[in-house]
């Protein structure tokens, strides 16, 4: 089966748009998403099918001549500046807005460009044009009185201490514990999101500014009611991370770029205190804010969800090219980078596409780039697809290795032999063994193989917590 195979897009789109148009009369949500997708297709001019065609051709050519960056040529056309807001008139009002401000959960947002009463948000490639009282696609940025505020500041909806392997980050301070946090919101609409209960929510749906404020304390758990009133400002995050014995802070779960301002302020303070900052992200961010973030960011795991514009649109409501740009920028600024690729049956499991992706990674990011393949499981709205076969995951790993990548892992499939083991690229001996996201054996001296003294890519300083 070929998901990108030729179809008759105009007839299909016309039929679907017609049906969804009726649906939009009664329902919002996914319908609006589909409609918006259709609209963005139209707005992108020349239509999508030709773009996808060009992608395939250019990639094939590039594979034949590896010196050329693979996906440079097929860059998808940039969207017209300023997409209309997905949530017009949806900014918080009245008492809720006052209380939100009073709690300090609303801050003027960075990377915006005012144009009369409307404001162009320039944080992510969606570039929402926010009319007064409207909300961006990320659900966290609103236009109030001609100014854009982020509603995701000091109000995380999830706080946990996780092993760094859970992110996954395998080549950055193995066995370290990461103080992990998230607020509501995300720029994407991944149909298989495992965190949909926070990523596809407004901050107001996860937090409650009414009642008595609750202060964060290390080691204490909160009931849902208490947690909804809990404030954790950047200095609190740093204090909590230190209090729980963590040397790293992970901005994770939903999408850290949706709470960019909160993340940036926290990362700055954390850096000053010697803590490491980790971003677990879809990578959908424009270059200027990313460059500023890179000044404080130590490591990142970017979820490269597929290597096809078409799949990005179908499953994630996003675009591929900006993610590739993010990967390059992170690499260029020396941030430790690991890439994750979820293999979704019938969408991203074509071996030729995986081969192209690995080729691009080797060419652009280098053979030492860490790559994780993840097993898909039916979740959220993508429940009518089976889980990824173990053989597909093993084949993908083999392709990646053949393409020249030295550190390739498979997540969610413990039945695959050495799925999470790091091998020395020189002597081929296992140097880091993991099981269920836990480090179980380590045969390294610093950042070198204990057997042959070869240098292993990554950051391996002794990082036991506490």
């Amino acid at each position: 089966m070929n998901a990108d195979r030729d179809r008759s897009p105009t007839r299909r789109q016309a039929l679907r748009t017609g049906l969804m148009g009726v649906a939009a009369f009664l329902g919002g949500g996914g319908t609006v998403y589909l409609l918006t997708r259709s609209r963005s297709r139209a707005a992108n001019g020349a239509a999508l099918a030709p773009v996808a065609e060009r992608t395939s051709c250019a990639v094939a050519t590039a594979s034949a001549a590896p010196a050329a960056p693979v996906v440079e040529a097929p860059a998808a056309p940039a969207p017209s500046r300023g997409q209309p807001s997905e949530f017009p008139g949806d900014a918080p009002q009245g008492e809720l807005w006052e209380l939100w401000q009073k709690r300090g959960w609303a801050r003027e947002a960075r990377y915006v460009h005012a144009s009369g009463s409307s404001v162009l948000c320039q944080l992510c490639p969606h570039e929402c044009l926010l009319e007064p009282e409207s909300r961006g696609r990320c659900r966290t940025r609103v236009n109030k009185g001609g100014k854009v505020y982020t509603l995701a500041y000091g109000n995380p909806c999830s706080l946990n201490v996780d092993p760094i392997e859970k992110k996954p980050l395998y080549h950055y301070l193995p066995d370290a514990r990461a103080f992990s946090l998230a607020t509501a919101g995300c720029q994407f609409r991944c149909l298989n999101c495992q965190n949909w209960e926070i990523s596809q929510r407004r901050p107001e749906e996860t937090k409650d500014p009414r009642g008595e404020s609750v202060r964060a304390e290390a080691g204490r758990r909160y009931s849902r009611g208490e947690f909804e009133r809990l404030s954790v400002f950047p200095d609190d995050v740093v204090a909590l991370a230190e209090g729980t014995g963590c040397r790293t802070i992970a901005y994770t779960y939903s999408e850290p770029n949706a709470y960019f301002d909160y993340m940036l302020d926290t990362a700055r303070l954390a850096r000053a205190k010697g803590l490491k900052n980790l971003s677990i992200t879809c990578g959908y961010i424009r270059e200027e804010p990313l460059k500023e973030l890179c000044r404080y960011l130590d490591a990142a795991n970017v979820n490269l969800k597929s290597f096809s514009e078409k799949t990005y649109r179908a499953l994630n409501a996003g675009r591929l090219q900006p993610i590739l740009d993010t990967l390059r920028t992170l690499k260029k600024h020396g941030v430790h980078l690991e890439v994750t690729n979820l293999i979704v049956p019938t969408y991203t499991d074509r071996m030729e596409e995986i081969e192209r992706m690995c080729g691009w990674i080797v060419e652009t990011l280098g053979p030492d780039q860490v790559l994780h393949f993840l097993r898909f499981r039916p979740l959220h709205k993508l429940t009518h697809l089976p889980s990824t076969p173990a053989q597909t995951l093993a084949d993908a790993r083999e392709i990646a290795r053949r393409a020249g990548l030295r550190y390739v892992y498979v997540g969610g499939a413990p039945e695959i032999e050495d799925a999470c083991t790091t091998f020395c690229p020189e002597c081929r001996k296992p140097i880091l063994e993991r099981r269920y996201m836990t480090l179980t054996a380590r045969r390294m001296n610093g950042d070198r193989c204990a057997s042959c003294d070869a240098k292993i890519a990554g950051v391996f300083e002794t990082a036991r917590n506490g």
Partner: protein, 727 residues
């Protein structure tokens, strides 16, 4: 209004019989098919059934235009031929066009479900409704006398009765969906061919014969099920496909992995033991020395293989659908999931799991429920206080009961919190000790009257053969995660019971929170449309609307109660529908005699009034009757009791509803077609609202008792209206 001569001569009753037959077989088959598309629960059944009734009602309303037709016999023949083809065309369209409109692999959203099912069903339902009114009007003694409309209604119901029986006892156990729809298609085309031959209409005779030949050839030389299934599962190789009385099963293959897909939803995959490990081991590690284990569902998916790694003496595995076992034997090859079937310690029991637990005399050391979340009322039966008591009785002293639902990722949400609190509260009513464990896949509830250990890590470490490593437990059963779940249990939560399925409602609420449909708008539109209808309708039509509402809402209640005790509604829906049709025909036949009585209209009024009052009383008494039935121990055994009493309730309900139609149709009647159109529309509109509201809002939110009382009250109000307009 004069009618053309051939129409007067042509007998309408066989046509109505064929219409009823086709409608019931098509409805039951397409409902099954659409459940695969929409991964259905009772909400989807309510929506699809509601749309079916609404569209048929609208078609019936339009049927009044048939009164002026001069060449009705030709229109009728064309209509019947179209009705023969439309169900098959709909089925092909459903399978092949799905991913033209919706994202491949994605759940169809609620608003899309409402609208797309409306579009899919529209051609067949509107046409059959139109023909129903048109044919029924022609069964009246004269065009300006509606007193005889009841006889047409009776023949339609008799056709439905035959369709339901044939579907349940002949078609469903043996045939696929295409073959099921072929039978009414052949019946309709043969009927048209025969009448055309009788009337000397060569053109129509030829057309009918050609269509009949084409249909039979298509099935003889091609396999539409095969190629439409291939289109439906584009990109996967089909290695097995089959139908059972419990659902449609397809096994696909991709990269060596066999995926078992039941009713459109992946059940499990071979070579993927990871999801089943925690289900088996979190329970068995509590009693690693267990001798007798009972497993409800999931055995073929790998749970049995994991349980059999312990030195147990006996594993009883209860599975509802024998096709699943058969498919695993035939298509899973050497996979461990299939190999385990030959283990001598394993006994497969093909039965409804709840009935098995209630009736077994064995006492088990561990009872593992490995069924999907309570996303349907059918599955909610395995999370109620009544079931927990039955499970408790089936355990040996100190035995462990295990059930799982939901998933805890890293944040407690307002939707998830009660999904933890309600089962905890319900379990603690029955067991002395309850433990909640947030696994990687699901949240597991362990319950026992004996001790439950928290030191699973050491036990897992001492059994490396399980490949259930301590690292896994350390990762997912952290102190923080356990505390989060514990905090959730402090919520003041209601009990989940058979008659008040709170967990089903809560699960539904969480599922719907993924989508952002404006359900309020939909309800608002319905409320306005209903109000307008009731304001403009005549009193008799309001009464018929109330009776139709009761027909659907109370029928849903009885069906859910039947399912709670007996299980497997999917299998039994055909003959239960036949029972409903029998009741309708019986009630309508008796009432038609009253309606035809040339006496004063007061007698018809009072008879209609009595029917509505009886429906009101029926609604009020139904919860008590169901409560008694669920507890009645009969000397001749529970199955016979369920076979007699639940259908008996349905026949009684349908008898009252069936009696309402002929009486209401002739109250204040003028022309037959107009009366038929108004009456059918009122009946179907009420049935539509009853099906939709009962299954989506009333039962999940209010519970069974309140739904019955509300429905009874509606009929009493309608009776009051009829009484006020007497004379």
């Amino acid at each position: 209004m004069p009618m053309d001569e051939p129409t007067v001569r042509r007998p309408m009753k066989p046509a109505l019989f064929a219409l009823g037959f086709s409608a019931v077989v098509t409805q039951l088959t397409l409902m099954r098919e659409l459940l695969c598309v929409y991964s259905g629960n009772e909400l989807v059944i309510g929506v699809v059934l509601g749309n079916w009734l609404l569209l048929t009602g609208l078609g019936a309303w339009g049927g009044r235009t048939s009164a002026g037709l001069r060449r009705f016999s030709g229109v009728l023949d064309i209509g019947l031929l179209a009705l023969a083809v439309l169900p098959l065309a709909t089925l092909i369209a459903v399978r092949t066009l799905r991913y033209r409109f919706f994202v491949r692999g994605a759940t169809v959203e609620p608003t899309e479900t409402v609208l797309s099912s409306l579009l899919i069903l529209m051609p067949y339902c509107v046409l059959s409704g139109w023909l129903l009114t048109a044919c029924c009007a022609r069964t009246a003694e004269s065009s300006d006398d509606a007193r005889g409309l009841g006889s047409g209604y009776v023949w339609d119901c008799l056709g439905g009765l035959a369709g339901g029986l044939l579907f349940s006892f002949v078609l469903a156990p043996r045939c696929g969906h295409f073959a099921m729809l072929l039978l009414p298609a052949v019946l309709l085309t043969a009927w048209v061919a025969w009448t055309a031959l009788r009337e000397g209409r060569a053109g129509r005779f030829g057309a009918a014969l050609f269509l009949l030949g084409a249909l039979l050839s298509a099935f003889a030389y091609a396999d539409p099920d095969e190629w439409t299934t291939a289109r439906e599962f584009d990109g996967q190789t089909i290695v097995f496909r089959g139908y059972s009385p419990y659902g449609r099963l397809v096994v696909t293959e991709r990269a060596g992995q066999r995926d078992f897909i039941q009713n459109g939803v992946p059940l499990f995959a071979t070579g993927d033991p990871f999801p089943k490990k925690e289900t088996a081991h979190l329970a068995l590690l509590q009693r690693p020395e267990a001798k007798r284990v009972l497993l409800l569902g999931g055995g073929i998916a790998g749970t049995a293989a994991e349980i059999l790694k312990y030195p147990i003496e006996r594993l009883d595995y209860v599975e509802l659908d024998p096709l699943l076992i058969d498919a695993a034997r035939r298509s899973a090859g050497d996979a461990p999931e299939a190999r385990v079937l030959s283990d001598p310690r394993l006994t497969i029991r093909l039965d409804d799991a709840r009935r098995f637990v209630r009736e077994t005399r064995e006492r088990y050391d561990v009872l593992v429920v490995d069924l999907p979340d309570p996303s349907t009322a059918q599955l909610n039966r395995f999370h109620t206080r009544e079931f927990f008591r039955e499970a408790h009785a089936a355990l040996a002293p100190g035995g462990v009961f295990s059930v799982a639902l939901g998933h805890y990722e890293n944040r407690m949400t307002p939707e998830l919190e009660p999904l933890i609190a309600v089962p905890f509260r319900t379990l603690i009513e029955v067991f002395d000790c309850v433990s909640i464990l947030p696994g990687a896949q699901r949240i597991h509830f362990l319950a026992s009257d004996g001790p439950l250990t928290g030191d699973l890590e050491a036990r897992a470490a001492s059994r490396p053969e399980l490949a259930f490593y301590p690292e896994y437990l350390r990762m997912w059963l952290t102190r923080e995660r356990l505390e989060d779940l514990h905090l959730a249990t402090s919520l003041d939560a209601p009990l989940n019971t058979d008659l008040n399925p709170r967990l089903y409602y809560l699960h539904l609420r969480r599922t719907l929170s993924q989508f952002q449909g404006r359900y309020g708008v939909l309800l608002g539109v319905l409320a306005v449309a209903t109000t307008l209808f009731l304001l403009r309708a005549r009193a008799a039509q309001v009464g018929l609307f109330a009776a139709g509402f009761a027909a659907s809402a109370l029928n849903v209640v009885v069906l859910l109660a039947f399912q709670t005790v007996h299980g497997a509604l999917y299998r039994d829906l055909g003959w239960l529908t036949a029972a409903f049709m029998l009741g309708l025909a019986w009630g309508a036949a008796r009432a038609t005699r009253v309606a035809r009585d040339p006496g004063p209209s007061m007698a018809r009024h009072s008879a209609f009034l009595r029917v509505l009052l009886a429906l009101g009383v029926f609604g009020a008494l139904l919860p008590g009757a169901l409560w008694l039935l669920a507890r009645l121990e009969l000397p001749f055994g529970a199955p016979l009791a369920t076979c007699l009493f639940y259908p008996g309730l349905i026949v009684a309900l349908a008898g009252l509803v069936g009696a309402a139609f002929p009486l209401a149709a002739c109250i204040g009647c003028d022309d037959a077609a107009g009366a038929a159109a108004r009456s059918f529309f009122a009946d179907y509109a009420g049935s539509f609202l009853g099906a939709l509201l009962a299954s989506t809002i009333l039962i999940p939110v209010l519970g069974v008792v309140q739904t019955c009382l509300l429905t009874g009250l509606l009929n009493l109000l309608a009776a009051g209206l009829i009484w006020s307009r007497r004379g």
